[in-house]
Amino acid sequence: MAKKVAFLQGNEAAAHGALYAGCRFFAGYPITPSTEVAEVLSNELPKVGGKFIQMEDEIAAMAAVIGGALGGAKTLTATSGPGLSLKQELIGYACIAEIPCVIYNVMRGGPSTGMPTGPSQSDIMCARWGTHGDHATIALLPASVQECFEMTVQAFNLAEKYRLPVFVMPDEIVGHMRERIEFPEPGEMEVLDRIKPTVPPEQYKPYDTQFGDVPPLASFGSGYKFHVTGLNKLPDGFPTTKADYVQAEEERQIRKVMADVDNIVDFEEYLLDDAEIVVVAFGSTSRSARFAVNEARKQGIKVGMFRIKTVWPFPDKQIKALAGKVKAFITPEMNLGMCTIEVERCAEGKAPVLGIFRVDGEPINPGQILDKMKEVK
């Protein structure tokens, strides 16, 4: 049977991805270049019995999304730089209280209002470390309209599976560009739901690790009574300051993601088999990089691309393995070197890392990447 196809914008595709994943509650606050997600979902959610609310600010939107998730819904918010900054305290809340939800953040320049709304890839570290305290982060970087759809579905799956907030972060170019998209049939893509408790309500503890590092999550209003707080807590959800326990809990909350890193980290290897130079790229920049790699190959340069799809957790293992084999990495990104720091860390001095950085609101073009390849000795 022919697939259902459409010509959509990245943001619109993400909204449809959310619906496919079973999202039934959206709370947001308008901000370019993310607003199309809100617009599509305000139209589509009520059609499937879901709910859309425009809150008074991004903090409120994040709060409502956490509240809705506790009520049992799969929930989404969408924003961009300034809004992402505002959400940070409550992103930390979702981390420590282990509430699944998805944050779709379209990257525009910064700091602050920056240059609205030119493209950028400068929220990489804000997603990782924007909220205070130690925590695990999962963040996905789509490079096409199709991926905006698919990664949003994947983000819901990861959020539900690991009980944490998950980011999908297209740059503005990916969020706004239009491409052909093929919709998966219902059931074609995996859709995961959180693990619900099997114990009776009297025995339920929201952070009971006897069921593993990701404890089952009940919903408010489903017969289970329990306490949720942003304080460090015991398995029953009540605050504790017991040193040993707090340390072990913090470590578990990171371990629940990092122990499964091989199942989470996704990437694309393009012409890497014999590559002496590896371009590490993501988002719209990876499209310029692919073009540059193809051109360079025509000129006999042995170059390939490692495309980051999951930036957090970072593909440490893969970059480390490449570092031992290649002459150099080239890291084009629309910021002043956020992923480059990570590539350097993983390269461990075994291969030089040559950055190409742009924060002037213009995309990195293939010519710039080609020129950099030619600098490699």
Partner: protein
Amino acid sequence: MAFDYDKYLRPGKLPHIWCPGCGHGIVMKGMIRAIDTLGLKKENTAIVSGIGCASRLPGYMDCCTLHTAHGRAAAFATGVKMARPEMTVLLVGGDGDGTAIGGNHFIHACRRNIDMTYIIMNNNIYGMTGGQFSPCTPTGAKASTTPYGNPDPAFDVAKLAIGAGATFVARGTAYHANQIDKLITEAIQHKGFSVVEILDDCPTTYGRRNKFKSVIEMMNRLKDIAVPVKAAEKMTPEQLQGKVLTGILYKEDKPEYCEQYAKVIERAQGGAK
């Protein structure tokens, strides 16, 4: 027979953190009696708070409880209520939590008229952090950050709520303990966003700085300044100087938010226009 509060309290979670003489416990007991009067099911009742001494209340209650971040209770609760409109949603918190950092969420919850009941415990101070002034600290009063007396004017919480669109607004005091449950009961029964302000006391961080010699003195002040709305009708403006009105201050029927959204769903699905 004495009222059985234990039925609604979580076993093993007492003693509470509140200081001797703190009014917050009186409010919690009033809230429990209201829940009992209405026969609310504990598993169908969500109690949502922010951060502060007052906001620790949900931890003691054997319901679905959500202790959020400072000021954000109304916004979290909006998500809970949208996902579970059939639940009774109660918000609790302090004056600082609700009118400073949470002021924006407070007025917008009022404006939406979403069916929740907000019990705001106004002790005129940031108790938990050691007594800095709040937007409800009277002008001239001493706080740890107003050593020369507070230059700021204070909010009138009830007027703020009415102005913002809340459809039920009441005020009581920690002294008038027997009235608290009646106000909360009516507030919960009201369809829409209801606000119950309870004037209470923080002997530890407000009382001692403002020349109250004892908790009894603080309580007596609450007794003296409170005037029931009915009684106030017969009083002159001079007689009302320095007094605050108590009882149900405002009540209005207006479309409730979740019901309004149910109509959106109907329209989106091609039903009633």
